[in-house]
């Protein structure tokens, strides 16, 4: 085992994992799953024409519209506006996610690290956390001018809670032996924080960030439906009021894809920063 992994670069490790993945049954089951889902959609809308699905666009209509050079309802991959919507939404996510991480991770670290700080802050935090971002919409609009800041604020909120909470749990999950070992070895309180608390909480922090980027999309779309002139949430909402049904589906599918890409990016950064963990897991965790 040792000889096998000692000289692996991270690229080789990544390739190794991809080849393992291709050898397993997982990718093929995944394809069958997608085919089943699309098949059901196609059959129920376009073949059987089930009553509940009568207003719904079928997959062929959506695909034709999505890839059309001259889309009936105005939005396809050949229309620059489509990318404008994606970019505006992604930009809002990036800003909100960045702010939530920059504030949430340090806050969570200190919540977990200092019992006293936690006693001050955590009760307030726990009281605010159950309030859904949608309930913040009126206050957000009153507090912030324009249409951009309220949407970013709403997106930030949900992300922030997930990040701060998971970071705190991460610090609390650290085995006290590691802290004691560092004390024995002569580390100061600040060195313990830097070399034990932060890396020890890292797995939980990245779990938190993945949840955080997911819920960011969640509240972003809610925010864009209420206020804003661009963005995928706005596309879905206006297409509904303007009866452009295929465009709704295009907006939804695009959200799914872009959301998945952002989650995967967070996971990749996590794997890169936590080589030790990736390697432990790559060995199958048999020890």
């Amino acid at each position: 085992m040792v000889a096998n992994t000692r000289n692996l670069t991270s690229l080789a490790l990544a390739l190794h994992r991809v080849s393992l993945w291709l050898k397993s049954s997982r990718p093929y089951l995944m394809l069958i799953g997608f085919a089943g889902f699309l098949g059901f959609w196609y059959l129920s809308v376009e073949v059987w024409k089930l009553p509940r699905f009568s207003e719904m666009p079928g997959p062929t209509q959506v695909v034709r519209e999505w890839f059309s050079k001259d889309p009936t309802y105005g939005l396809s991959i050949f229309v620059p506006e489509y990318y404008m919507h994606i970019w505006v939404s992604t930009r809002r996510i990036l800003i909100a996610f960045f702010l939530a991480t920059a504030i949430g991770v340090p806050l969570g670290l200190f919540l977990g690290w200092s019992e006293r700080f936690k006693q001050f802050v955590f009760p307030v935090f726990e009281l605010l956390r159950p309030v859904p971002p949608l309930a913040w919409v009126p206050l957000a609009i009153v507090m912030f001018r324009g249409s951009e800041t309220p949407v970013i604020f709403l997106t930030f909120l949900a992300s922030f809670y997930a990040t701060a909470l998971n970071t705190m749990l991460g610090v609390e999950s650290i085995d006290v032996s590691y802290i004691r070992a560092a004390d024995c070895l002569g580390a100061t309180r600040w060195q313990v924080f830097r070399h034990v608390i932060v890396p020890g909480a890292m797995p939980f922090i990245f779990t938190g960030l993945q949840i955080s980027v997911g819920v960011a999309w969640f509240s972003l779309v809610a925010g864009e439906m209420v206020s804003g002139q661009y963005g995928l949430g706005y596309v879905i909402n206006t297409s509904y009021t303007m009866v452009r049904y295929p465009t709704i589906i295009i907006g939804m599918v695009t959200l799914g894809i872009v959301g998945y890409v952002t989650s995967a990016a967070v996971r990749l950064v996590g794997d890169y920063l936590m080589q030790w963990r990736t390697r432990e897991l790559a060995l199958g965790g048999d020890r």
Partner: protein
């Protein structure tokens, strides 16, 4: 220590013949909770850990021997009494909790190598944190010591990539990097199977013969205690107090042939009844608590 370059040796007070690392435990009492209603874990405990020797403390699980180790290491306070390391009071009247430090390093029951640092980063952690060595010096010394302990091949692995037996060895080297006066080992081989354990015992003795650091070793395994120890302290079950202190006169260096030697069996015969008696008491107490 002869492998160290001269520049590094000047940092190592352990290079001269060791007559340091004597622990004296005087009348130590530890009560968890309030003085009158709390649980008495350690009851007027007095004994000595001679310098440059291995002292093994044996007692049933939960008897309070780890409490004693935590008091020496500075993780917990004591209620009364005092503990000295050579002439320095670690804890005692007016200062009930010792300050943890690199002169007494603990090797933990479940291991505490930092999984996010490579083995060599773990080994260099102490001197770099203390500012006792430059990074380059620390890495030079770490490479020498790891090579000496047969760990050259795993320098750049993470602890999660090597077997638990090898991890223990890395952890001991990490401790020795700081020239501690005493190593405190808290049942370090508890989770290992008996074959791995026998290998680890010989490896520990080998490290000990090279470094001659005092060792305070906690276990519930009598055979392990007599095999390793110059001195074996058998503890009563909770509250813990020395029941029997034996000086094991089987000559060092020892290897596994000792296990079948007549003298070894005599020590076993002499002590097994005492340990068994405490185990029964501990078991009965456990039943009552339920």
């Amino acid at each position: 220590m002869s492998v160290l370059p001269a520049a590094v040796q000047s940092f190592s007070p352990g290079a001269e013949p060791v007559r340091k690392g004597r622990i004296r435990i005087n009348d130590v009492v530890k009560i968890y909770g309030a003085d009158d209603t709390g649980i008495l874990a350690v009851d007027h405990c007095t004994f000595e850990v001679p310098p440059g020797e291995i002292t093994v403390v044996v007692g049933p699980s939960g008897c309070g021997k780890t409490t004693l180790l935590n008091a020496i290491a500075g993780f917990h306070s004591i209620s009364s009494g005092s503990i000295y390391l050579d002439d320095q009071m670690l804890c005692g009247p007016g200062k009930l909790k010792a300050q943890p430090g690199p002169d007494r390093i603990v090797v933990f029951q479940n291991g505490a190598l930092f999984p996010w640092k490579t083995n060599i980063e773990n080994v260099t952690f102490g001197p770099i944190m203390q500012g006792a060595m430059s990074s380059a010096e620390a890495y030079d010394k770490a490479r020498d010591m790891m090579a000496d302990a047969g760990l050259r091949d795993v320098e750049h692995n993470y602890p999660g990539e090597i077997s638990s037996g090898v991890r223990r060895r890395v952890e001991i080297v990490r401790a020795l990097m700081n020239n501690p006066k005493i190593l405190l080992l808290d049942e370090p081989y508890r989770a290992l199977d008996s074959l791995t354990k026998s290998v680890m015992h010989e490896a520990l003795l080998e490290i000990f013969y090279k470094n001659r650091v005092s060792i305070f070793f906690i276990t519930h395994d009598l055979e392990e205690a007599i095999f390793l120890g110059h001195r074996v302290v058998i503890m009563t079950t909770r509250p813990c107090r020395p029941k029997k202190i034996l000086d094991i006169d089987i000559p060092h260096p020892r290897d596994y042939s000792v296990l079948t030697a007549k003298r070894f069996r005599e020590f076993m015969d002499e002590t097994v009844a005492a340990v068994h008696e405490e185990a029964i008491k501990a078991f009965a107490a456990g039943e009552k608590e339920r």
